[in-house]
Symmetry: C2
């Protein structure tokens, strides 16, 4: 079995071979192969720019792998700014001895996901570090997108806005946790890892005014909602019963003592829109398979500024606190 | 002594505190602090885009640290494409238990180097991985620059072009190697780690036509010259005696059996220009302290296509091969 050697990161012949045999072959496009120290791009005046490093473990999980996640994660960050993903960079740090076969599988799913998104990988970097300096592989992706929907911001939520979630929550966090703990529930649970741009693009084209958008990654719903409440100086009231959560995710949470609201998602996002647009918004989302459980889960209010309130079906209320402490390291 | 905890990477309160207390404080600018999932930028139509991950060890070395290197490395990649560095992203992967004090020192030197360059850090990411998952800290920077000098490419070197190096070679590689091996030569040897944009900018403003530019990082001069010979389908003849190499670098090479041509540089670049412009080019470079040893070292020829020939002062010749094998892992 062929393995990554330190020489693959030396900047000489073996590095060139690796870049040509694996990266160029999978990511092939004119801009990438012509790139020297940097790619040359032609872009519109207003762009969005983002970066994310990925250290998830296990590197292969039900519903994705670190490669797919690294593309989807950065594309989604652009999408959440109302920006069409155009160009991506990828930077690999690989542990000496990592199997070629695994690297190829990861790179292949990055290529597929990038192709699906319509974006291009235009520049990259490869480092190999001696065995023991890192655990398997870390990937960084940065992305450039063209802003097509302006005014989307966590600061723009108004009292009366409806809060929508695009799907059932907590699947990425629950999947990683189960796999890491070696728990096999014989369930169909898999990560929600998905490119959100098609749904965001459809919302943008519909002409609905979107106040805020955010994918509920690390820190889950609890992190996003608290950030929104804080940034827009509003309160947010969530009807607990309306939040879509699968039986599997609820099961993992009960078993291990977690809150589904704190669990990471990698293909689920929150939207704040005017109340009058909420049902139209849900209709658009439901055209997409990965948004089939899209739901209205609450609304912004003028009171309780900076706070998120969970209202149970029995009428009781509690604050949904922003996540604190360890949660799950290396979830993304 | 305060240390990085896993909770600093959880995406909740502690992550926010870290971002505000360290990153925003040092990198403070309007775009960064307003950035949500991505920064919003206004750029010209033609941009350069690049990425690099940094895993150098030791993280602090004579002449720099992983933070300074991460800024300079990406800025130099833009500069080498004739692009003025405008916007940078930074993504940190930090080992649990890493000392705050060290992180602050690293971030501070990133901020200083960015300020000096005129660029801005506009978005970022922070991951914390459990102790043992990586060695100390890895940093990725991606960068966007505005192309102000077009037509600079490793494919554009012509027979007759003069090959210039901006300073004495091999200091970064030699410094890292010495520190790693615990060799103390009581010397003044330090890494050449430096932002090259001021010198490139002056060359661009001079109106000199630049055929190719490249900083001689991983793989050193040997890698760049061989890449150039290959890409432009030319031969390159280098006069060994003309290549500026300090006594310290020569000493380290003799002691440990390395070639200075293979050693990484982080603030030294190669230029290919018309013969008639060579002396003007040297005059411009020498205005800069970090280019005081700039020298004409050889020229491109129509023969020996794809090969680099080192000519000794005694008239003998040998091929300078592209570096192969392990070299020095984690040099950058």
């Amino acid at each position: 079995m062929q393995k990554i050697q330190l020489s693959h990161g030396g900047g000489g012949k073996e590095t060139n071979d690796l870049i040509h045999d694996i990266f160029y072959r999978q990511f092939s496009n004119n801009i990438l192969t012509k790139a020297e120290d940097a790619a040359v791009l032609h872009v519109g005046p207003d762009i969005a720019f983002t970066t994310d490093s990925f250290t998830v473990t296990p590197i292969f999980f039900n519903g994705g792998n670190i490669g797919k996640l690294s593309i989807v994660g950065t594309i989604n960050d652009l999408a959440m700014m109302g920006a069409k993903p155009l160009f991506l960079s990828t930077a690999f740090i690989i542990e000496e001895g990592f199997e070629f076969e695994k690297l190829e599988a990861i790179v292949k799913s990055m290529a597929e996901e990038t192709l699906f998104s319509g974006a291009k990988i235009v520049c990259g970097d490869t480092k190999v570090a001696p065995k023991g300096s890192l655990d398997n592989i870390f990937i960084n992706t940065a992305g450039i997108g063209k802003i097509i929907k302006h005014g989307v911001s966590c600061h723009n939520i108004e009292p009366g806005n409806t809060i929508i979630v695009s799907g059932d929550i907590g699947r990425h966090g629950a999947t990683i946790l189960m796999e890491r703990e070696g728990i096999d529930l014989k369930s169909t649970l898999k990560s929600d890892c998905a490119n959100l741009w098609p749904a965001v693009s459809a919302l943008a084209e519909s002409g609905i005014k979107i106040n805020a958008l955010r994918d509920a990654t690390r820190g889950g719903l609890a992190a996003v909602l608290n950030e929104w409440a804080d940034a827009s100086n509003i309160g947010i009231v969530i009807n607990e019963k309306s939040v879509p959560i699968s039986d599997e995710v609820n099961g993992v949470c009960e078993l291990l003592g977690f809150e589904p609201y704190d669990f990471a998602n990698e293909g689920t996002f929150m939207i704040a829109v005017k109340n009058a647009d909420a049902h139209h918004c849900i209709d658009i989302l439901k055209r997409f398979e990965f948004c089939k459980y899209a739901a209205i889960i609450g609304n912004a209010v003028a009171e309780h500024q900076g706070k998120v309130i969970l209202r149970s079906e029995w009428g009781t209320s509690r604050f949904l606190e922003p996540p604190k402490g360890e949660l799950l390291p290396r979830i993304c």
